[in-house]
Symmetry: C3
Subunit: 468 residues, 3 copies
């Protein structure tokens, strides 16, 4: 009977026997610590409702753009994976396609997460293949019907202590409130304030959202002042419901302090649909500055992840909407863009600014130097395309020599794939153990300190950086 | 007697004994597979004519800008290496210079290729030095006179199955035709359509070449329409002569869909020598778009390698012409530039677009994300300055976690140095085996799958990507 | 009793036993070679005066922005570290803070240097901690009073053969002269010409410095011609006092050959305080070109390190001045910017141009290709944030395959921390041995050649590149 490589206790650890042994000891320290997930995209309602997950394909394939994109690249239309949902293809057919496509994933981070989930959550020991598609579909499907596989049971089994969701500023956060009020649910599920759709004046529906924000949340004010007040009020509402951070997916890391009059003019032009070239970027840059100011007042940690060309393929966007697998990174530089913000708030007491990137060049060039000086700046964990073993090793090697370990954010899973959460955190812990083990083997960090460091990296950092 | 390190069966494999052993087994699978070379710069006529190669210096040193550039950096004028040819220096003197300069190459990719060729092709076991220059010159020179060292013999000994050349659109491809018609030659030598000189309106001689294209190949049409028709016709001629790809060495990866009227205006201004600022880049961007359109119609694989400042040192260019060792890379980004092309052709059936780079930053940031979504996009193998063991390891580590193994082009030797072809492919196979062996040792890929993958990487990918 | 990891003979060497053994043998070759330090920031007067160093905090903490910046990032105001000096905090308090902050430095280059200095220079075997702050302060403080710890004694103990300082063009170099004239001091301390404050027309005090340059050093000339003459004269003065290089910390690597008339206009506008947008960059670009021209005449090696946003946090700059830990790198590209300079001087006889970067992307993309062609161009050693073990490994891996070993500058410590000099050179030698050992283990360089190469890297290169 084939044994999954997901079961090997030394997976992701270095091959050298001596270093592997150091790493394995370090891993032992943190392997069973609870999961702290301060940023992700799981929907709070699945926990509030606690209804059984749907079939394997609808749970694990169709909504996961990490998975569907690579199958799409092999020539399979997204329709056939039920991206966006369709009545013409059945989940079992999607699963068949996925199983046939499984060899595409060799060497990817997704393969690691999925294989771990298959093995650890669903007890699969075989590798997927076209031949066992029906059998594995049925096996996982039947598990998903069992009470032990309900969202709340898995939440507990996964040993999740804190899970942050990502939410629209006008969300009423009722799912969060109901979970908080429910004595039978011991976990902590906190919302995250994500105002992108209210900040990017070119985003479809911006004016309507802003209108609603002003109408509902601006204390009866009007105009730009109401917009700012509305955002401040909604942030306070989020804080009251447990939010610890506000997340910003902007085009570039430019920041700008406009005068109120200038900001108001752009804002009103945009509301009238009369925006001019440059308005979008200027307003976004200004609002990043404003959001930092609000963070210094209400304490929300500010997380920033610029440098993505969203919805690169118009045909796919028109048919399947956003988050359908064709957001593509481009070069980014933080040093000049963030300077206006950091000049005013970089040393502000208790301000936390976590900088994420999918452009690795900024790690040693900018993020480590910035975080190694500004008390507010933390280096975001490798994220999205970079949340993968080799990329995580490169990250540590790039930032540690300048900034040490204390300036990193702690691991972020950033996932909407609930069942992948344990595997993602496990992978991160294994990589951290491997990196530290090499430093120990090279006599750069003492083994004693490495054991303290790995606990701080896994457990201390996310609590400290995200004020948990 | 000193033994060349080129003879060690574990060369380029990882040092760790356990990983080395896995790698060596993987290498065994592919070490003797035929060479598929879908892009390079060997002249088809040397095989068609099959005349003996000249002396060692004229074969191995003077025309190879990888070699001459580093000797030049040490202070030796290119004249003394007979770059461009001269009567004043003899090949034996060039060889003497080269042997004296041999220590400069320690650690370079060129040293690996040359040392392998010396050992494997010519039977040299000593390291070159000023002291053995005469002796090694004579030894190689006498081998080159032997019938077994004719181009066709070596082609067979090298186990080359397919060799692509690079050709001017107006080339009559007679050498290719004569090889195809020759029953005594079993190899496959295919042309590649390289239209740079017809697309860059600032290239010296552009107007003359375009005039000739229109006169000879445009079905009697005139103007911009004739230019497009001429290119389409010549592409078809290449296809009929076995071509599988069109290669584009543009300045940047910008693409642009001009209206026919706008394209025509630029084209006519350029023909009159009245081009204005921006015309060159706009026309090149537009023609990349047009070439992609043609590829979707005639099936030629489109290969793209932007980001090079050609002929950086004017004094050297004036004296020795192009390809004399001072083409220098600059930063490049594909995400925004390619968007217009990919918006229209990115999911076109059977369209293949292979993206090469000498700016490593795009591997994880752009190429893996693009190729991991668009069915048309393939990540070109590490090329030119990056065709080297460590750089190839970085490439795999940068792209695989996002795009797996299926989205890479397969190895490209891109060489005009015929005798280096086996060593280049051998080096690539060794690096692929080493990379996979690490993944196996870290339990990220099963050993069974690794054995399938390496065959696909070495043999399957180039056939599939280049439609061979 | 705890033993410092700084004492391990295999520190920084690879973990694999076979590779480590090769590396250790290579290290044996160079471990005791004299230190050649062709670029740094130690003040010549400390050696000329040879007065005892002050207390541990004032020697090792307050002036070292590598150290204070990371403590600052943890929330400690720079005042409390006596950055810039203050009467309100005592050195012993600074030392206490530093010792409490010591765990922040795990994994950083600074930790390696400091731990080595503590162990090797001051005989500390314990790790610092808040608990032993007083004890370690006293121990180091008492050592610093001993005659054996005077600057000149340490200079000799450190086995420094040549030490270059960095000096203002109008410095009278009396400390250098006095050391040169002192028969009791065997070391060589040479000045370096650093004209940034005379070239950047926006630098505070530029006009006054230029006025003084013209008044004192321009042979009675006036205007732009006097400025150029003054710089030429001061360079000659530096050459006469032993200088071998001129160092340029410019914003970007742009170079430009202005006409004398155009340069004169910008120069005079700047003197009148009437500069316009673009003047600063154009003049700096022009002056880089001029400085290269001067180097071809007076032989000073030209070193260049662009790409830093100086004094990123205005509040800190206003209070503590420059070099207070918030200079942050940004992206840089040399290929196009340097082209005008290299077109005219790139192949000039005996011209040496050493290119430093803190943007690692240029190593393989630009620096290795440039240095692998131009006889004048050398790749500067990993510098500043990149002067660290992993970064140094990345550097070698990025440049060697294209440019070999002969085109690198040799190690540069660039430090104002005198006691860290041996540890910095030791770290570099260990990394070079490790890199070469891997190439030997992978049969890419013969062991025999590796032994020659490491001597050339450590001892030959700095002498050759800096004309020592």
């Amino acid at each position: 009977m084939p044994t999954s490589i997901a079961a090997d206790p030394h997976r992701l650890l270095p091959a050298d026997p001596a270093v592997r042994s150091i790493a394995r000891n370090l891993l032992d320290r943190v392997e069973n610590l609870p999961i702290i997930s301060p940023h992700g995209h799981v929907d709070a309602s699945i926990l509030a409702d606690d209804t059984a997950f749907p079939d394997p394909a609808t749970l694990l394939v169709s909504p996961d753009h990490y998975v569907t994109r690579l199958i799409h690249a092999s020539g399979v239309p997204l329709e056939e994976l039920r991206v966006g949902g369709t009545a013409e293809v059945q989940p079992r057919q999607v699963w068949q396609r996925f199983c046939e496509s499984w060899p595409l994933f060799d060497g990817t981070a997704s393969a690691y997460w999925l294989r771990s989930a298959f093995h650890d959550v669903f007890g699969l020991t075989e590798e997927l293949s076209g031949a066992n598609a029906d059998e594995t579909f049925d096996l996982i499907d039947s598990k998903l019907q069992e009470p032990g596989f309900s969202p709340r049971h898995l939440f507990k089994d996964f040993n999740i202590e804190v899970l942050a969701t990502t939410d629209d500023p006008l969300d009423d956060l009722s799912a969060h409130a109901s979970l908080a009020a429910d004595a039978s649910f011991a976990g902590k599920v906190v919302p995250t304030f994500r105002p992108d759709g209210y900040v990017n004046i070119d985003a479809p529906g911006w004016a309507d959202r802003v209108e609603k924000l002003i109408t509902t949340s601006a204390d009866g004010l009007s105009g730009y002042g109401a917009y700012i007040r509305g955002l401040e009020n909604r942030r306070r509402y989020f804080v009251e419901h447990g939010a610890v951070s506000a997340d910003h997916g902007v085009r570039t890391p430019q920041t700008l302090k406009l005068t109120t009059a200038d900001a108001e003019q752009i804002f009103e032009r945009a509301r009238r649909g009369e925006g001019v070239a440059g308005d979008r970027d200027a307003f976004e840059a200004h609002m990043l500055y404003e959001m930092a100011r609000m963070s210094t007042q209400d304490g929300l940690v500010m997380t920033l992840h610029p440098g993505i060309f969203r919805n690169h393929h118009p045909g796919t966007f028109e048919r399947f909407g956003g988050d359908s697998g064709h957001d593509i990174p481009f070069p980014v530089s933080f040093t000049e863009g963030l300077q206006p913000l950091l000049a005013d708030f970089g040393t502000a007491k208790d301000f936390h600014l976590v900088l994420f990137t999918v452009d690795e060049t900024v790690y040693s060039r900018e993020l480590a130097p910035l975080a190694g000086f500004y008390p507010s700046v933390y280096i975001g964990a490798p994220w999205w395309f970079l949340d993968a073993p080799d990329a995580m090793q490169r990250y540590r090697a790039a930032v540690t020599e300048t900034a040490g370990f204390s300036r990193s954010s702690g691991f972020i899973d950033d996932t909407r794939a609930f069942c992948s959460i344990p595997a993602r955190h496990d992978a991160s812990r294994r990589v951290e153990a491997s990196f530290l083990a090499r430093l120990v083997a090279e006599h750069r960090v003492s083994e004693e300190r490495a054991h303290e460091l790995i606990v701080d990296i896994v457990d201390g950092a996310p609590r400290r950086v995200f004020k948990l």
